[in-house]
């Protein structure tokens, strides 16, 4: 039972001052084992805050990140699943499933987490699953101003992943979930 927090595109301080208070009250240290962040934090203070939630932090570089040392892509293995991480501005057209699927095959992962569009999405295709946690602060994106703050928490339990989607809609936190199982044929 491993809890993995996936979030990104916070754009603090340029486009948003901070995470929504309701999200912050839920994100307490000690519960989450890993954090994967798609990028665009943008400053070190946000990095430190995320580090305080969980020591195991993985970040990829977004185009506005001030720390240039984050990698472009990252892969990690958690339990039975291989996860891939990339900000997504590198993949054109932005948010296009087929292009992301190409990246997923390149990285050879079961679950690919990308951002940049600031819209929550969860797709599946033959190669695996693509998850976009959206923007945790609800910052405006390069495409639209209409953004709901959202992030994703994955509960990896053996061959099964339960993806909990947390969205802030009209000031209330709404939680949904997506159940997902890995089969042997997923990877050649």
């Amino acid at each position: 039972m491993v809890l993995v927090l996936a979030l990104g595109d916070l754009h603090i301080p340029h486009r948003a001052p901070d995470l929504p208070a309701k999200f912050k009250s839920m994100l307490v240290p000690g519960k989450i084992q890993h954090i994967i962040c798609t990028g665009n934090l943008c400053i070190k203070e946000v990095h430190d805050y995320l580090k305080s939630l969980c020591p195991d932090l993985h970040i990829t570089r977004g185009e506005y990140d001030e720390d240039a040392r984050y990698p472009e892509t990252k892969t990690l293995t958690i339990g039975q699943f291989k996860l891939g991480l990339c900000h997504g501005h590198q993949v054109v057209p932005w948010g296009d499933l087929d292009s992301l699927a190409m990246l997923q095959r390149q990285l050879d992962v079961d679950i690919l987490v990308t951002g940049h569009t600031h819209q929550f999405k969860a797709y599946k295709h033959e190669g695996g699953v693509v998850i976009n946690p959206g923007s945790a602060t609800g910052a405006y994106s390069s495409i639209t101003y209409d953004v709901n703050p959202s992030f994703v928490l994955m509960d990896i339990d053996g061959l099964r992943v339960v993806v909990y989607v947390y969205e802030l809609i009209d000031g209330e936190v709404k939680v949904d979930k997506i159940d997902f199982k890995k089969t042997a044929t997923m990877h050649a």
């Binding site: 039972m1 979930k177 159940d179 890995k182």
Partner: protein, 443 residues
């Protein structure tokens, strides 16, 4: 051995200077103390032991019948059923008592106070009977064991499950059954409603996840303590898979106890009280019992702790039933039996009994003696008809009296050091002294 050296001792009667009152040196072959024990205390010293009940000789057998001091083993040999020749008659006596259709508990208690032999798996059964886990009627044993063991399985199933599992079960029970999603096909993954606000970051009081995270602190504490239990013993702390599984068993028992008892939860030290029980049951030569040592140990632990619960409850510390009051009773007991020592300890050197007796009482003396000695001590503790609490106090008092010479000669630091690192003693000797201290507890 400075007899007339200290001026304080001019009024000490001769019998008190007898070597019986001092702890014999820890030499394994030193068998004289138990033998010479009967003769000196026979002229009853009336000023110090007023309520000398005439029934005193009868409950205890003459010390010659006690088993030899294998209590002073230097290395830790677990599971060695060393049957010294003088114990074979004891084994036979126990077998006779245990083989009856309905076990006579009074008779068993009397035998247990003599000391349970290590051989032939007698101790596990005796302890289970003394703690009330097994009924006296032998015919009911299979039924009772089955019932208790399946109850434990139910506890395990219910309480030791992680929240992912729990939410999965809740889903399976809920009406809206969705299909499994696997990697075939393409498209957006449909979102589903969560059941009853159950998500990992939930802060709700009734949330399974929230409770899990709150209890994880206790679980971590238990984990740390179990790893520290008896580090010198292979059984608890070796590298083998056996000792790891023993540790896991201990952890499970303590976790289930903590979850079932929200009032007292887990307190540091409970692991030490559990360790001898689990050890004895796990080393039962009867494999069918040894394999199920965990549930047996759990229920016996509950039973044993029920008498001592109040010692672990912080709120009761200052109450009539709490640990402070128990320590005060011990103090009064010492005063009654040995006023001079009491005065020296509490008034002159100001050694507050809480400094040493706290650990003696709450951990049932598991930390004061070697593990094997502890098992022998517990035979009497569990077997004495007066009950574990009263017996424990008598034994503590006897421990103090046994080292009185050193205590009377020491100051605060020396006495505290001595009492917190109690010197190795012959257990039979100690229990013999404790037995002589019978009488109504002072209040």
């Amino acid at each position: 051995m400075a007899d007339g050296a200290t001026p304080r001792r001019k009024s000490v009667p001769d019998w008190l200077n007898n070597p019986i009152w001092s702890a014999p040196p820890p030499s394994p072959r030193h068998s004289s103390p138990p033998r010479t024990a009967p003769s000196p205390p026979q002229p009853p010293p009336s000023p110090v032991l007023p309520p000398q009940p005439p029934r005193d000789p009868t409950p205890i057998p003459p010390p010659n019948a006690r088993r030899d001091g294998d209590a002073s083993d230097d290395e830790d040999d677990e599971g060695k059923g060393a049957g010294a020749p003088s114990r074979s008659h004891l084994v036979a006596e126990f077998k006779v008592t245990l083989d009856r259709k309905v076990v006579d508990l009074a008779e068993l208690r009397r035998l247990a106070c003599q000391g349970v032999p290590d051989a032939a798996g007698i101790r596990p059964i005796v302890w289970k009977l003394l703690l009330g886990y097994l009924p006296t009627d032998r015919a009911l044993w299979p039924y009772e064991l089955e019932k208790k063991r399946s109850q434990y399985c139910a506890f395990q199933d219910e309480l030791l499950v992680n929240p992912s599992e729990v939410t999965r079960r809740m889903e399976e029970m809920s009406v809206s059954k969705r299909e499994e999603h696997n990697a075939e096909g393409t498209g957006v993954l449909p979102r589903a409603e969560i059941v009853r606000d159950e998500h990992p970051l939930s802060l709700g009081k009734t949330s399974v996840w929230n409770q899990y995270f709150q209890e994880s602190e206790i679980v971590e504490q238990i984990d740390r303590d179990v790893k520290r239990t008896h580090p010198e013993m292979q059984f608890f702390n070796g590298d083998s898979s056996d000792s790891l599984s023993n540790q896991e068993s201990l952890k499970r028992i303590l976790t289930i106890f903590a979850k079932l008892n929200p009032g007292i939860r887990y307190v540091q030290g409970m692991n030490e009280v559990l360790a001898p029980l689990y050890y004895v049951f796990k080393n039962d030569p009867d494999q069918s019992h040894a394999a199920l040592a965990e549930p047996d140990a759990f229920f016996c632990f509950v039973e044993l702790l029920s008498g001592f619960r109040d010692n672990f409850c912080k709120q009761l510390d200052n109450s009539v039933v709490g640990i402070r009051s128990t320590i005060a009773t011990l103090s009064q007991l010492l005063r009654r039996h040995d006023e001079e020592l009491w005065r020296h300890l509490e008034v002159v050197t100001k050694v507050n009994p809480q400094f040493y007796a706290f650990r003696w009482i709450t951990l049932l003396l598991t930390q004061e003696f070697k593990f094997r000695d502890c098992l022998s001590l517990w035979d009497t503790l569990l077997g004495d008809p007066e009950g574990p609490q009263a017996t424990l106090l008598r034994i503590c008092c006897a421990m103090l009296i046994l080292v009185r010479r050193r205590l009377l000669a020491g100051d605060f630091t020396a006495n505290l050091k001595l009492l917190q690192n109690y010197p190795p003693t012959n257990i039979d000797h100690l229990l013999h002294i404790a037995n002589k201290l019978r009488g109504p507890l002072p209040f």
